[in-house]
């Protein structure tokens, strides 16, 4: 088994590389850059609290889920994909918890997976059969990584053949059992 053992001779003093050919070397060096951004522009404006002159408020024409860690909606927000269906219920539940809680994030992960299934159902309801092959970009796999693609297809086919034969065998045995 390989180890991480070292010998004293393995260590070397860091030697400065040749950077004379690098355009712009040191152009932004700043010995005063300490403490570095994002602290150096601190102006203590937040000491006034949530008191700045707020931008106009965007109308909330769709349901927006709000973090419990703030008192209001922000002045602007996105309105894409408002919560709906079972995944929407999970999201509403998740937003009862703070951002520091697993209660917030794990239900959202679950909601995302549920939303994927509901998305397929929704597609089918609209008469659209999702082209999973195209949506997964497998055409590019065929184009740029054909050997791997064929190996994967062969592996899936082999597993399918084994599964079908096992199931068929069980069924035959079951039929025989019935006959005894």
């Amino acid at each position: 088994m390989l180890t991480d053992e070292t010998k004293p001779a393995d260590f070397k003093k860091s030697e400065a590389a040749d950077y004379s050919h690098i355009k712009g070397w040191g152009i932004d060096a700043d010995p005063e850059n300490d403490p570095v951004y994002p602290m150096k522009n601190r102006n203590n404006a937040e000491h006034e609290g949530y008191a700045w002159k707020r931008p106009a408020q965007q109308n909330d024409n769709v349901e927006i889920l709000k973090s419990v860690e703030r008192p209001n909606l922000t002045a602007v927000f996105g309105t894409a994909s408002p919560p709906e269906g079972l995944n929407g219920k999970l999201r509403r539940f998740a937003f009862k918890y703070s951002e520091s809680s697993y209660g917030r994030w794990l239900p959202l992960v679950l909601a995302d997976r549920v939303g994927e299934v509901e998305g397929i159902i929704d597609d089918l309801k609209k008469g659209h059969v999702p082209n999973i092959f195209a949506e997964r970009g497998w055409g590019s796999e065929w184009k740029h990584n054909r050997t791997n693609f064929l190996l994967k297809v062969a592996a899936v086919a082999a597993v399918a053949v084994v599964a079908v034969s096992v199931l068929s065998s069980n069924k035959e045995n079951g039929d025989n059992d019935d006959g005894l």
Partner: protein, 383 residues
């Protein structure tokens, strides 16, 4: 309109029936997208690692466009302007924006207080549709969007909306002083740009570490740095110590984030079971590779829940950790000048230009690192 439509992990489609954006706030603008990139952090969404990524979302936070409509309160932009749109949605008025912390705006994301609004980056980042579309709604149009100079190539401009500012800020937050040894973990677009920018702060030595040979070769040439594959150097932490007389690097930059390879337990907990906010392997290496009293700069994206890090070593070594979403607008003037002067040449990292209609293939190629892919730009049919 045509737009990318997220249908679930590893499933997206180019959808011609997505609703066109409209002015929803007096400070909004609508832009016709001219270029839109796929970012490495879009892959975290694509892989299903970011909570509250809803079906029907359009990703894309790196885009440029032409203004086609403005809200009644917009003063600085006018129809016809060609603008680069920073990925942060920032009001310019809150306490954080006043400190130029444009990635931490308090008036752009009601869904979470930990992160400001970001275009096309889940409802955890505000629920905004992104720019991988023919048109996009741009809130606070007078704050973030910056008119593209006439001389600038649009391919350079689109990379100034995230990749260049984030790579630059990674180096800036690292507090690099002349002669410092800088180690960058991750040779994706951000890591490559961070390595490139480290020289601008006077780094004496820049080392980049990744597992993909083609990216390491590119990084070595583009960023003129040393490049090592972590599969061939043994334990990366020990390797860095041997390279620095056992003291450690002056600064380390985590440019990987939640999908770091190299540690089975982290991969299992952070990427397969989603029980922590991503795989923290790169951050773990950064903390343990930096010298005592060194600085670790984090621009890699992690999920919002807990994640395993060797915090005891942070304390014992007296490490300073600096991290933030890049405040794009803050550094844009300087970075535009660096592009004009030929010090930075962003568009050279673009390896793929793909029609937006083929967005599913584009994601798959980028995700699977096929065809030597480093950076992909999507071109809408209306561009």
């Amino acid at each position: 309109m045509l737009a990318m439509n997220f249908r679930g992990p590893f499933r997206v489609r180019a959808d011609r029936n997505m609703p066109e954006p409209r002015i929803e706030h007096p400070e909004d603008a609508i832009v016709k997208v001219l270029r839109s990139c796929i970012c490495g952090s879009d892959l975290h969404l694509y892989h299903g690692l970011v909570p509250d990524t809803r079906t029907g979302s359009t990703f894309g936070h790196e885009f440029i466009g032409e203004v086609v409509e403005v809200g009644p309160s917009v003063q600085k932009l006018k129809v016809g302007d060609r603008v680069m749109v920073p990925f942060n949605i920032a009001c310019g008025k809150c306490a954080f924006c006043k400190q130029e912390l444009y990635g931490n705006c308090h008036e752009s994301n009601p869904m979470a207080t930990a992160v400001g609004g970001i275009f096309g980056y889940s409802h955890t980042a505000g629920g905004f549709q992104g720019g991988q579309a023919e048109y996009a709604r741009v809130p606070y149009a007078d704050v973030g969007p910056t008119v593209i100079p006439d001389w600038m190539d649009p391919d350079d401009a689109v990379l100034l909306t995230d990749v260049v500012p984030t790579g630059y800020q990674a180096a800036e937050m690292a507090g690099i002083q002349k002669g410092d040894t800088v180690v960058v973990f991750g040779a994706g677009p951000i890591g490559i740009m961070a390595a490139k920018c480290a020289w601008l702060f006077g780094a004496g030595r820049v080392i980049i570490i990744d597992e993909l040979e083609y990216r390491l070769e590119f990084a070595a040439k583009y960023a003129q740095c040393e490049a090592y594959n972590f599969h061939s150097i043994g334990d990366p932490v020990v390797f860095i110590k041997t390279q620095t007389d056992s003291l450690g690097a002056d600064v380390c930059i985590d440019a990987v984030g939640c999908e770091a390879k190299g540690n089975m337990m982290n991969t299992l907990l952070g990427m397969k079971l989603l029980l922590q906010g991503g795989s923290t392997t790169a951050l773990h290496w950064a903390i343990n590779s930096v010298k005592k009293s060194g600085i670790v700069s984090i621009v890699g994206v992690y999920g919002p829940i807990d994640a395993l890090v060797p915090i005891g070593n942070v304390v014992n070594k007296g490490i300073t950790i600096r991290a933030n979403q890049a405040a794009v607008k803050r550094n844009l003037p300087k970075l535009i000048e660096h592009v004009r002067n030929g010090i930075l040449n962003p568009k050279e990292i673009i390896t793929h230009r793909i029609p937006m209609e083929e967005v599913a293939d584009a994601y798959h190629i980028f995700s699977r690192k096929l065809d030597g892919c480093i950076k992909t730009v999507l071109i809408p049919p209306t561009a």
